[in-house]
Symmetry: C2
């Protein structure tokens, strides 16, 4: 008896999932271990696996199997799995191989030009490459839009945030853009009235920082039997299923950002570590999307760990790790809290605080929508950037290095990714709020370094659900309502204007 269409799909997607796992290790190794001379060979290995994966998912049989499986008698998770398979398959088959390859080449060339242009603040140098990337991205977006029945931008957004729609994001971001100027003025005025926090004095030996990071990871519940902590230039969470690898980077003169970075990546890794094992390598068993992923990292970092409670618990651990004197005021919890919640108008997104971060994201979101729609020409990007930041945040970057050249995303072809950062931040606030209502004494538990109740709640309400529900359904199931940006604003008010 031939196996059901569903079972055949499961086998094919399991093979794909295992190849994606292999690629996860190859990508991790490239960023963490690979000697520089291995780059050419590694690019060939990864490209070969990309081609094989593309061949597997665009196999003409898949479409027939999906049609047939949708008529079979399936369980709920199996049905959701078919839905996710169809989504992956639609993305893959919407564009022909020639366009995929042309875009891949254009992105590689543009990224290389960007690496040269950024330190020189020379946007003109990268502009012709970016023109080509944008042209092929628009073509990709239109081809996918035709299949998904959405706009080109929404089709691109769907790659990172399944079922995400600009029509849903616009009011959320417009509301925050309206809220921010006055709120930021008040926060900065309040900060100015307080004494400035004291920065702990280093040097902070890397080995001590690493030990402290490992200890905090353990406290957060990271499973070292199924993961590692290493160093890379740009911190990330990667690896394979059952083998989550996070990275950080250390500065001997400042341990604070590395430590919060480690906590942030631990949030990502906990999500991956708690995905349902029974659905490993199946599309429904994957994490839900980038907004939910970012909600998990930002919940751990911004909500749980930049809190008075956690910093009261962590202050003595930090002080001991660096053998600082007990009387040194820099290590007092209240000082660390003020240090970790310092707000400022700044140019660089990745260094921004949680109050101003959404402004950086909203700027990029508005610009990329206009670029994809053809309402803004790339020639005018630097001007639009500077005008936009002035409006949103009241500052203008002195050059494009601190402006439109700062992020790799567009130069690597990632249009539609940026909004997930702020959607994630808002979801994090909403989930933490719901967890606080569901778990009696949660802040006090965090103050004792007890993360198990919180992580158990996240596991049950988010991690274990994988891609069974949509992002919207997931939030409703966990918190009782869809994304509500008022909760994020309430969190900011409580923390910054108490």
């Amino acid at each position: 008896m031939p196996s059901s269409s569903y079972k055949q799909l499961e086998q094919r997607f399991a093979r794909l999932g295992r190849l994606h796992d292999a690629q996860g290790i190859l990508h991790w190794d490239r960023s963490v271990m690979m000697p520089t001379g291995g780059a050419e060979s590694r690019a060939e290995q990864i490209a070969t696996l990309d081609v094989i994966c593309h061949e597997l998912i665009t196999d003409p049989r898949i479409g027939d199997l999906l049609d047939a499986a949708e008529d079979e008698s399936l369980g709920d998770w199996e049905r959701a799995n078919v839905r996710e398979m169809r989504r992956d398959w639609t993305h893959a088959t919407a564009v022909d191989a020639a366009l995929v390859e042309a875009k891949s080449r254009a992105c590689s060339a543009c990224e290389m030009a960007w690496r040269e242009a950024r330190p020189k603040a020379d946007y003109a140098l990268v502009l012709p490459y970016l023109e080509e990337v944008l042209r092929l991205t628009v073509e990709t977006g239109k081809a996918k839009a035709a299949r998904f029945g959405t706009s080109a931008y929404d089709a691109l957004l769907d790659q990172y945030e399944p079922a995400g729609r600009a029509a849903d994001i616009d009011p959320v971001f417009d509301d925050y853009a309206g809220f921010l100027p006055d709120f930021l003025d008040s926060v900065l005025a309040r900060q100015a009235r307080e004494t400035a926090p004291i920065k702990p004095r280093g040097p902070f030996p890397v080995e001590r920082q690493r030990e402290l990071g490992l200890r905090i990871m353990q406290i957060l519940g990271f499973d070292f039997h199924h993961g590692r902590l290493d160093v890379s230039l740009h911190p990330f969470t990667g690896g394979a299923s059952g083998d989550q690898r996070i990275t950080t980077r250390y500065s001997e003169t400042d341990f604070t950002s590395s430590l919060m970075g480690t906590i942030h990546e631990t949030g990502h890794a906990l999500y991956e570590q708690h995905l349902p094992k029974g659905w490993r390598h199946q599309p429904v068993g994957n994490s839900r999307g980038m907004a939910v992923h970012e909600s998990q990292s930002l919940l751990m970092e911004m909500q749980a760990s930049r809190s008075r409670e956690f910093l009261s618990f962590a202050a003595p651990l930090m002080r001991e790790a660096f053998e600082a004197e007990a009387g040194d005021g820099a290590w007092r919890p209240e000082n660390l809290f003020r240090l970790y919640t310092r707000v400022s108008r700044s140019f660089i997104r990745t260094e921004a605080d949680e109050v101003t971060y959404p402004a950086h994201v909203i700027l990029r979101y508005r610009i990329e929508r206009a670029l994809i729609a053809g309402d803004l020409l790339l020639h005018d990007l630097p001007g639009a950037w500077n005008d936009g930041l002035k409006t949103l945040l009241g500052v203008v970057p002195p050059d494009d290095r601190l402006g439109c050249l700062q992020d790799i995303h567009w130069y690597d072809g990632a249009f539609g990714y940026f909004p997930t950062y702020t959607l994630g931040a808002m979801a994090a606030a909403q989930l933490f709020d719901a967890a606080g209502k569901a778990i009696p004494g949660l802040p006090a538990a965090i103050g004792r370094g007890e993360f198990k109740p919180l992580v158990d709640w996240l596991t049950e309400n988010i991690h274990c659900k994988a891609s069974y529900l949509s992002t919207r359904e997931l939030l409703i199931a966990a918190t009782g309502r869809p994304l509500d940006p008022a909760i994020f604003k309430a969190h900011l008010k409580a923390r910054y204007l108490p």
Copy 2:
């Protein structure tokens, strides 16, 4: 115009080569970096790539393309490439997928049983698993023999030593087995008359050992732009093309074996680093086989580095690395030379000196030939082992842990591998002898830590040739004659009975 059959083959084998590279990184990571909980997922990743590689090479089109390519007008290297492609293809297509999978499963089960049986010295525990492995290995050998027109054993040997034949090995090994008893008696008698070498006193901090190892690797010419040194339980050379990774292991109480192990693996890695880049990912661009590979590691370790010249050069580096007192006699070159050339009758192959090592190999070679031919039953393996070692080396292991359970090879299905160790040792002596004649003042150069002339000679005569020639042709081209075991014996006489 369709591309030539040869070009189509090149493309198909390039894809295979790149996947093998990816697997090289996954295997390295498994031994060096992977958290234990990643094992299940990793096994799935590797198995999936194995299946894909098997599908690619057994694609029915390949046979036709090979036939057609052999009629095309090709350059010498291209013709050799087709020859090597046909060899790989014949190995892959000789056995059906069911047998490949059954053997793979049997080996995994047997290896696991062996890991339990070895520490307990309990051969009976692993026997039923080994029966199954042997049965499937014989079946594999017979299937391949039918295609290659050889005996089953030679077909198995060909997997590791292309074109290797038992009929050529028998006289070489018989000759050594006849030479060894008297020679060994004389060496041991001579050693007994000398004062015993002094072992340098530790502890030897791991970080210092690593620094010393890195320094010696640099002196030998290892390209760190294209490679790394790491730690694993069992030292090996792995990685991918353009990215050679060697491993070692450290003991705080003894640095000597780790250092020579690092030099040994560096010899392997230099071979890989100097393979012709233009033939990367093509069968003709691969290393020639295990005997030639072992000749490169043993040439660096046994011939070049366990010499008075090298140890005179290295002694002060070692002493400084561990901050030993200048007057400490343990660090004198002559003492280190005697320590590094100590001979003894021992049970464990991997710890054996270069005089007795071939006896361990000859024992295994004779036994595995008898097992494959059906002339020896596995039930009688421990007895045959102990009798054989008594005859060859004059000692009998007290239990099977120190006897027939010591090596993983057979329990993992590797029959036909063992002879390559001693063929490699003999080829190393022959190549080093030829290099010494071709390079004026080679010993003195080594005494100054100048390895470039030697490595350049090896690169030109061995590394750059990749798989263009057969092992026999390669040796003739480099040294003027096929493998001549007299040169190895002469080397031993000169070093151990001067």
